[in-house]
Symmetry: C2
Subunit: 202 residues, 2 copies
């Protein structure tokens, strides 16, 4: 059995990471990593499905044990990706997809450089502007700030392995799917095991 | 327009390189590189389609100009891959596929390391034995020699980027197709051009 791989899907907000991930997860051999958080569960949220809900003390303990691939504090609550959870799935031959912002992706690259890093780009700044405006949650000023921030984020693209422009959704999904398939054909330690098998056969 | 890439499809004979290449070429944006040779054309062979037919003097001149990505002498005839031909297609945005043995692939890696190297493996030695025997052109002794040679060749797999086991043909074709698609999503100079465009837009 081939080990699973970790695919980090990242990029500026509004690029469509979430929609792409949802489509990718149609494949039964791929699962989304479940984050751990110290915030209280909201109505309908299930422990172990939406998040692993833990106390601040528990979270702190895992930080100290270096048990997170990445973590961050947002408005006083902690969010993190537990390493053990991801490793267990990969050892069971399942690919793990992690949807995360650029800061989180850079942390993961430090902790687990063997992951495959995919940057999702919006097709253009004007299209991104349209998508953000469509959500209706931004003032003109905060919109301009956000677009400037997006440009800063895009500069980190050289830390990534792949870049997929999300213009037409199905095309972007096909590209990410191709990346996942191709990465399983990379010459790696698995290949050396195959060679050994050929030798034994002869 | 994105530049084309060179995909070197290689592996031991009997692994099924040729059949896979034929399927891949169904895609209109991919072409097979046409080799140059000093041997005489056979009935029905067309210059520029099956081969570029040239004199030994012309071939020698191109060797001296370092105009081949690889070349070899087989039974007194020369065969080679003209660099110019491949580069012209890539500059026109066309992917070039080159089906070649391992010695040729290693020469190309020296001359053009930016190429993508794909190793096609037979599913097992017993399956390879069956395929070669099926062709009926080998004695028992030459068969054993060939299988031994195959094992030596497989040892070069670590010079390659990808490895595809050709058990079920359609699965192998899908994998090579995914590799071609994924390589076009690699973070490369093309991506930096895209970033510049985003900046100009804002």
């Amino acid at each position: 059995m081939q080990k699973g791989r970790l695919f980090v899907i990242s990029g500026p907000s509004g690029a469509g990471k979430g929609t792409i991930c949802k489509e990718i997860l149609e494949n039964e051999n791929i699962r989304l990593s479940v984050s751990m958080t110290t915030r209280a569960p909201r109505d309908g949220e299930i422990d172990g499905v939406n998040y692993f809900f833990v106390s601040k003390e528990e979270f702190q303990k895992i930080i100290e044990e270096r048990g997170f691939l990445e973590y961050a504090e947002v408005y006083g609550n902690f969010y993190g990706t537990p390493k053990m959870e991801v490793m267990d799935m990969m050892n069971a031959g399942i690919d793990v997809v992690l949807e995360i912002d650029i800061q989180g992706a850079l942390q993961i690259k430090e902790a687990y450089p063997e992951a495959v890093f995919i940057f999702i780009l919006p097709p253009s700044m004007s299209e991104l502007r349209k998508r953000i405006t469509g959500r209706g949650s931004e003032t003109e000023e905060s919109l301009e700030l956000r677009l400037g921030e997006t440009l800063n984020e895009i500069a980190y693209i050289d830390k990534y392995d792949y870049c997929v422009v999300n213009g037409e959704l199905q095309d972007a999904v096909n590209r990410v799917t191709a990346i996942i398939m191709a990465e399983h054909s990379r010459v790696s330690e698995d290949v050396y095991k195959i060679i050994e098998r050929y030798k034994e056969e002869l």
